[in-house]
Point group: C2
DNA sequence: GACCTCTCTGGAATGTCGTTCCAATGTTGG
DNA sequence: CCAACATTGGAACGACATTCCAGAGAGGTC
């Protein structure tokens, strides 16, 4: 394969691209690739092909793949939280529920988001995407009447729960898709439930006992139930009345 | 590099290994590599070197890297939950707190665990490591007196919170280590707090307001506070008395 | 218009990784 | 002693992220 010297005249590109490359366009293409082919679908090869360019051009706008993934995550989360930016004057509890559902829907639409969120949070929790979510939830906590000294603790509890639940729940739908086009969420939960029922009765009595509830549960209901647990806990501690529980509008 | 044919006589290994290779030994070595060099430290090359063998031998015992990572995660989590296997007869609340702290300490000892837990959960939440944690928490929920129909919802809420909080909190300590040997956890939180304070005052008023609390907070206290929020929420809903809150032993 | 300079481009090359392939080895049982 | 067999480990492969660099276009200067 040792070609002679004349090859150094590289086949120059047809001409300069009509539409300039930009970080925005790259992130946009990255999100599309991730949506289409999942986590492993984002490669620089696929990216160069889709943008009709070379790796060097992309690296001019983006430091590396990790930063690109972070930017994609950030863009999607920002869009998800943008539904009620500054927080409408509805009851704070409803606001927190809206944030949770917004993230839930985002992970549903972008199946790769759940894994990305978890990975990013466990690698540098206080950067990038966290402040956005923290701010969104924290404002409602403040509006609840929680004393200032407990803002951080209460908000952290809510954010941790929401991210944990969203990551795990939305994966149900996402995983069902990867199992095949014919397998729907119900089928996925069905097989998961069966797997639980087949565990060792001595080691896993409880898990076996709730296997049926796993099959029948509704992700959104469960997400909201958990949010309400935390909200109740927060208000019960700080507001002796503890009238925290406004049931979610169904 | 085109060598002649005599090279086909490969330099055969000295002799058969004295101690047989086994899946156990491989997983053990994998955990050690992960502990020593972090997430990126586990490569088949490093593994073959450490075990003084070749890739083929490892692949005979393990399907692929993903399965190996899963096995490593499973082993570490199993060890973390093995402190009180069947659940001692202490108050259920304390039991849940013990599970949370056990996972917290495990991620502290194995910094890679947080990311692995999140990734695995969001990719196939109902397999591998989840039943173990679910069982552990679920037994205490049952012991709390929660009606059977709500076991799954209540346990899910607790597990989601614990995993979310553990993943994010333990990362504080882990990230402090990667920042350099001289940077400790306090230094890490300090710079994170400063980053929060430098956010746009218009977009992030709440985050800026709690930046100081971020700097001063204690991970374990906060973890337990969140667990208590959820526990309070659970018991308040189901047990009208709502005497759920046994303050953690400090 | 000819020149320089600076930003931006994209094709080739590099090194590492997970994984596969297979000749060779010790072991087991006939 | 020999033929299956489970197991080993070295070499090779293809994909990937990343780096390098020759060059194209745009804007300025004379």
């Amino acid at each position: 394969m040792c070609q002679s010297s004349e090859v150094t005249t590289r086949t120059r590109r047809s001409q300069r691209r009509t539409e300039a490359l930009s970080r925005e366009r790259i992130v946009e293409a990255a999100v599309e690739l991730l949506d289409a082919a999942g986590e492993g679908g984002l490669t620089f090869r696929a990216l160069t092909e889709r943008l009709a360019t070379g790796p060097g051009a992309i690296y001019w706008h983006v430091a590396n793949k990790d930063e690109l993934l972070g930017a994609a995550t950030d863009a999607v989360v920002a869009a998800a939280l943008a539904v009620g930016p500054t927080g409408p004057p509805d009851p704070p509890q409803d606001g927190v529920r809206a944030v949770a559902l917004g993230l839930f829907d985002a992970t549903d639409e972008h199946p790769w988001l759940a894994a990305q969120l978890s990975t990013r949070l466990s690698r540098g929790p206080w950067a990038s995407v966290t402040p956005r979510i923290f701010e969104s939830v924290g404002r409602r906590v403040r509006a609840l009447g929680v004393p200032e000294g407990d803002w951080f603790t209460a908000t952290s509890a809510l954010v941790h729960y929401i991210l944990g639940a969203v990551g795990q729940n939305a994966a149900n739908t996402a995983n069902a898709r990867t199992l095949g086009p014919d397998t729907n969420r119900a089928g996925f939960l069905d097989s998961a439930s069966r797997a639980w029922e087949e565990l060792d009765p001595d080691d896993y009595p409880f898990v076996r006992a709730v296997a049926k509830q796993l099959r029948d549960h509704d992700d959104r209901e469960q997400l909201l139930a958990g949010v309400d647990f935390v909200l109740t806990g927060i208000t019960a501690r700080h507001l002796p009345g503890g009238q925290a529980h406004t049931p979610p509008a169904t």
